[in-house]
Amino acid sequence: MRSYVPNYQLTTPASLADALALLAAEPGVWKAFAGGTDLMVLLEAGKLPHRNYVNIWNLKELRGIDVDTDHVTLGALTTYTDVQENATLRSEFPMLCQAAGETGGLAIQNRGTLGGNIVNASPAADSPPALLAYDAEIELVSTRGSRWLPYHGFHTGYKQMSIRPDELLSRIRLPRNTTAAKHYYRKVGTRKAQAISKVCFAALGRTSNGQIDDVRIVLGSVAPIVVRCVQTENALRGQQPDSTTVKSAQTSLLREISPIDDIRSTANYRLQVAANLLADFIATLKS
């Protein structure tokens, strides 16, 4: 343990309103602390520069999964275990369940939250590719009220996002329009469990009359943020899933991602695997 624990504050508000009041009273001084699976790693390593945290783990207002006709709405503190245990998510949002099941081991899945995974803003996070492919929307709340925004566009740069210092991520909403589609999720991390992804690929596709009509393609660990590859989607829409389409889509994809060499992998590997996964995904649209 390399941090000096007495230097850190972790205050526990009684309610969401109290938490928001604290964030509003001293904007930027307090940051939210959920399941701790990312922040505690930094604390242990002596690399947690921010000192003051609001403990939101116990806030019931941020838990629960609601299903209505058009949407599934998840509290920001929904854990990876909660995700996997939900029948609607398992049948309609399998990529999210797969992502949850491949995040850490069970002890991590019991503590890690979707909200935390989003706000931690790692480009290698496992659930954001699935959430982006499912056209998720997120709700930010503050003492000033609440606002819903598309998740796509929320991350603006490495560890940068469109959230104000007094706001909390409170809910995530998924439109229930996925049933007729092919879901293709692949986390590549060399070992089968407890891996940090080298490439994460989440895609959703639908064909009609042999042509691709709806398609969404999202990649993690290949750019400063998790990227929805809109140009590649455009290159695919209206095309037949054949080898010519694969070639042009790959060309487009390689322009949209910008992987780097790091201690986990190489840019070359990430580019090649991303192109392979895209081809493999397109092949699944043939049948």
Binding site: P6, T12, T37, M40, Y53, W57, A107, I108, Q194
Partner: protein, 155 residues
Amino acid sequence: MSKSEIALKVNGQSHRLEVFPMARLLDVLREELQLTGTKEGCGEGECGACTVIVDGRIVNSCLVPVVQVNGSEITTIEGVAGEDDLHAVQHAFIEHGGAQCGICTPGMVLAAVDLLERNPQPTEADIRTALAGNLCRCTGYMKIFESVLQARSSK
């Protein structure tokens, strides 16, 4: 920063403690409560040696700030055996070579106990998945799987 008071129940026993809120549950168990059966292997939630059960779910105690278990019930390795006898998982680990150096064993046993609570008849694949967050460098895992399969049938 100041300490705050928390209450928690560990292995059935209630405690009130003055703690720094960001102190790791792992350190509080080991240093304040002298429950040294919970081990630190990596300090980053990778190895599972510090696994304990909090309110019916396994967690990595190195990743839990202690203030978040205020009011919780916790089971550590010291609380797994009954008054008179070991837990079936503990018996099986002894009989089937599930423990070698023993440092991953407390976490491994707790993860196995948790699995059998949730799923009394796991397959080998279920066991592998349930233990995927617990690393062992000695056994190559085969004898651990055998131990859990044995504990399953002896339950």
